[in-house]
């Protein structure tokens, strides 16, 4: 799993590429933790290039959602598809996560408020 960060105005986009599983899901938690220390407040987690997720990956997304909420930072998770979408549905967290279909929609949502 590779994580890259890019920036669009005040919004930081974390692109995840690869498999978010029990061996590497912790990397996302670490990265977001470091970004929060720098007082970043608008996050997009872009899952466009993620084809596999397991319960540790879902756990990392839950951790990120709640850590950002505690700091009053804003988050959208974009481009969830395929089996990743199915695992989120099976875990019944589709309504819990701030999901947007496309990266553009995600950015627009963060720009609005």
């Amino acid at each position: 799993m590779e994580l890259t960060v890019r920036k669009s105005k005040h919004i930081y986009i974390i692109d995840i590429e690869g498999e978010m599983d029990l061996y590497n899901a912790y990397k996302l938690k670490e990265l977001v933790g470091k970004m929060l220390e720098k007082n970043i407040s608008h996050f997009v987690v872009n899952m466009d290039q993620v084809e596999y997720i397991d319960s540790s990956g879902i756990g990392a997304l839950i951790y990120v959602s709640s850590a950002l909420k505690k700091k009053s930072a804003r988050l959208v998770i974009t481009c969830v598809h395929g089996s990743v979408k199915k695992v989120i549905e099976l875990t019944k967290l589709t309504g819990y996560f701030p999901l947007e279909d496309t990266l553009k929609q995600g950015i627009l949502k963060l720009m609005k408020g």
Binding site: L22, E51, D54, S56, G57, G59, I62, L90, T91, K92
Partner: protein, 178 residues
């Protein structure tokens, strides 16, 4: 299915006619062991990699929580796949998942939050923890398991062995005869 069952004599516990493999409890090889099992499954039921993902969770629980990643302890797996059904039984040498009653109560509360669309309260029920949970445990695998394995998730009384099953809808052959 709305709860994990405990039943030594459940139909899903019957290993007759199933393939068998056993593995040392090597945490680094959980996904590899899973692939060795899933390769027996017909592509029609793999649903990209959902079957693999669901089996991997059960093997991870056996390796990590059951055998505490002790390489001297084995995980035994019985499995059978067809285009209509997947069944798997996984046994470890650990003390058993003794928190099943707590888990079922936790899951019932979680389902109440979900049916009320109460996402504020749901935040307290997204992850099931015990005193042995660590930061890398998602604590959500069995919620998805109960949804996925539509024939049930059943533990033995000792709770170191879990059996699951799923039926798949028959695919339309595309030939209409009338």
């Amino acid at each position: 299915m709305d709860r994990i069952e405990i039943d030594d004599n459940h139909r899903l516990m019957d290993t007759q006619g199933m393939f068998f493999k056993e593995f040392p409890s090597d945490f680094r090889q959980i996904r590899y062991f899973t692939l060795l099992i899933v390769q027996k499954a017909p592509p029609e039921i793999r649903e990209i990699n959902l079957l693999e993902q669901q089996i991997s969770e059960l093997i991870k629980n056996a390796v990590k929580h059951g055998n505490e990643s002790d390489p001297d302890k084995l995980v035994k797996v019985w499995y059978t796949f067809s285009e209509e059904e997947a069944r798997i039984i996984i046994e470890d040498e650990g003390k058993g998942f003794t928190a099943i009653k707590d888990w079922n109560e936790f899951n019932a509360k979680r389902n109440d939050c979900l049916s009320n669309e109460d996402y504020e309260s749901l935040a307290d029920f997204v992850s099931f923890r015990t005193e042995k949970s660590d930061d890398n445990d998602g604590g959500n695998a069995m919620f998805a398991a109960l949804e996925y394995w539509n024939e049930g998730v059943v533990f033995t009384d000792k709770a170191n062995c879990v059996a699951v099953g799923k039926t798949f809808p028959r695919k339309n052959t595309g030939i209409e005869l009338d």
